[in-house]
Amino acid sequence: MKKLSLVLALCLVLSACVFPASAEEVVNIYNWYDYMDESIFEDFYKETGIKVNCMYFTTNEDMMVQVRVSPGAYDVVFPSEYCVERMIKEDLLAEINMENVPNAQYIDPSLLGGAHDPENKYSIPFMWGTVGILYDTTKVTAEEVSSWGILWDEKYADQIFMMDSIRDTMGLTLKYLGYSMNTRDPLQLKEATDKLIAQKPLVKAYQVDETKDKMVNGEAALAVVWSGDALYAMDLNENLDYSVPQEGSNVWVDAVVIPKTAKNKENAEKFIDFLCRPDIAQRNCEYIWYSSPNTGAIELMGEDYTENLAINPSQDIIDRCEWFQDIPENYMTVYNALWSQVKNAK
């Protein structure tokens, strides 16, 4: 019996350790994994005395489910623009008090006022980028990757990684067919689906974040990726290069928002202001390789940033790209059913 009570006492102590008695100020952020230089948390704590708890999600869709079912769990979330639009519609977001975020002045005005948040009340851009093809220059020429068509070229059978993300993959196929990425015409969607099913025998794998490491390792010749992943891979393997095809592609912004149910809204605003500070934005940008919306940070980085076409795409690349818009629930049903067919085609 003595032993048993000893063990019990031990467990109580242990569980007490898990929950440090926290009278401390905290801010709970919910972010993509590996999407921020986490050493900034320490600086933030030193400056404000607020502790940052970080949680991670893997796709926009997963994140939205969690925000809906766990009210109060998150203070700062990082959705992509089309999800910001959806979350505003569902009344999930709180208005950000811009007076508490003076550093928002550094945000590039061309990225503000998009269709997802026309009055800039709910979101502040955090990072942006494009979707394109990461390719092995020893196997593929730059000319070939100027069109999405290379993904349907039988020469590269079993050399192609596609993206396991419904909007991105359907979107690029629609672009290749000459349609809008935001189309709601079921006939166009059907055409894109058939195109993807026809491509299936050539595809090596459908995946998202595993791609970058595998490309570094030379597992495939072509991969559909986000620009930041491309830069990460190119840094580790000099044979890799990145291209945004001529037909156009998707340009996206991941924003910072505060859920309506946030328990620490003031701390959240302080943290967002901190993220917008040029030196901090610079550290984040240099850590994750995505394009920064922060003019102050870009100035600090100088030529390293502006000369790099993948991280700082030229205006004509941006011009041929398109933003995602939120797709209403009934059209999403169509999207999901078609995507299911693609995923399970033999």
Partner: protein
């Protein structure tokens, strides 16, 4: 999310159930004038009602209702015809799905069939590999049996996700196995991104669950029986066929149960080793809930899975009515 509101009756049902439980307990005490042994299991009974039966009923509730909480069978129709919801929307938009080439979508049914087939293959391979292993381990002159059990358990203590990822490093095109093959002059083979790799991952994860129950039964078996058979003139194979095999059947049955059932709902492995090219039923359920955000159809899929498993369990009970094989204990 509108379909996650607690209906008022839900709270009441739970409250009434709890009160009824307490009342029954009190009546029981009064009747029996004190503490009889069966009452020891009452905390567990309460536990199982709250954390097993109520959740199962919840799944059933969501499976038979739509987003607004009204009764419907549409979720099951969606299982049979994966285009059902889509076609309904298309008609509402003024299209004719039949003209567009959208007949019945077989995705969900096909996925279930594929999962059952994969689980079946996995079980057969585990049995073929596992039975001889258990048999050798349980032999009387083999002293290392208990040590080997430990050696089989240790990998299970390593995280299952990490083990699967380690297989990825082995099987990749530029992975270790292909490196070895190339060094031997055989050349590269594509080992990953197909059903074979998924099957390998499954066998790797579930093999110990086949070995343990068979080993346990064989180990406890009275060796004098097989010796007697030998004395009476049976040769080695006949002894095995007539004595050992029938006696080890309970172990085989529980081994099959313990491999087949988790194998049907495997998820994560197809995504990592199969390259996400073909989904299994576990992936489908997860995607329906957490990505497509369709809780009602997700519940219907879960329910179908549950019924299927209970049915196959009933079938196995017929073979092994006493549950002699027990679990891996």
């Amino acid at each position: 999310m509108s379909n996650l509101q607690v209906p008022a009756w839900g709270t009441w049902v739970m409250l009434v159930g709890f009160v009824a439980f307490i009342v029954l307990l009190v009546i029981y005490f009064k009747r029996n004038h004190g503490l009889k042994r069966p009452i020891f299991s009452s905390p567990y009974t309460l536990w199982i009602i709250v954390f097993t039966i109520v959740p199962c009923l919840l799944i059933a509730y969501y499976a038979f209702t739509d987003v607004n909480g009204a009764f419907t069978l549409d979720n099951f129709k969606n299982f049979w015809d994966s285009n059902y919801d889509m076609n309904k929307e298309l008609i509402a938009m003024g299209f004719n799905p039949a003209d567009m080439g959208f007949a019945r979508g077989t995705v969900n049914v096909d996925t279930l069939g594929y999962s059952l087939w994969m689980a079946f293959l996995c079980t057969v391979i585990c049995l073929v590999l596992g039975y001889p292993t258990a048999h050798i381990m349980a032999e009387r002159d083999f002293k290392l049996g208990p040590t080997l059990v430990v050696l089989f358990v240790i990998p299970m203590w390593m995280n299952f996700l990490l083990r699967t990822i380690a297989w990825m490093s082995l099987l990749e095109d530029n992975g270790l196995i292909n490196g070895l093959l190339e060094w031997l002059g055989i050349g590269k083979v594509q080992l990953m991104y197909n059903s074979g790799a998924v099957l390998l991952g499954m066998v790797y994860n579930y093999l110990p669950f086949m070995v343990f129950p068979i080993y346990n039964v064989l180990n406890k078996m009275d060796y004098k029986l097989s010796e007697a058979a030998m004395d009476l003139g049976c040769d080695k194979w006949k002894t095995f066929y007539k004595v050992t095999l029938p006696l080890s059947l309970p172990g085989v049955v529980s081994g099959i149960t313990m491999v087949f059932m988790p194998a049907v709902t495997t998820f994560f492995i197809p995504r990592m080793l199969g390259g996400g090219n073909t989904e299994m039923f576990g992936d489908l359920i997860e995607r329906t809930f957490l990505t497509a955000n369709n809780w009602n159809v997700g519940s219907a899929l879960s329910m179908i899975m549950m019924v299927l498993i209970l049915l196959s369990l009933g079938l196995l009970r017929k073979v092994d009515p006493e549950g002699e094989g027990g679990s891996m204990i």
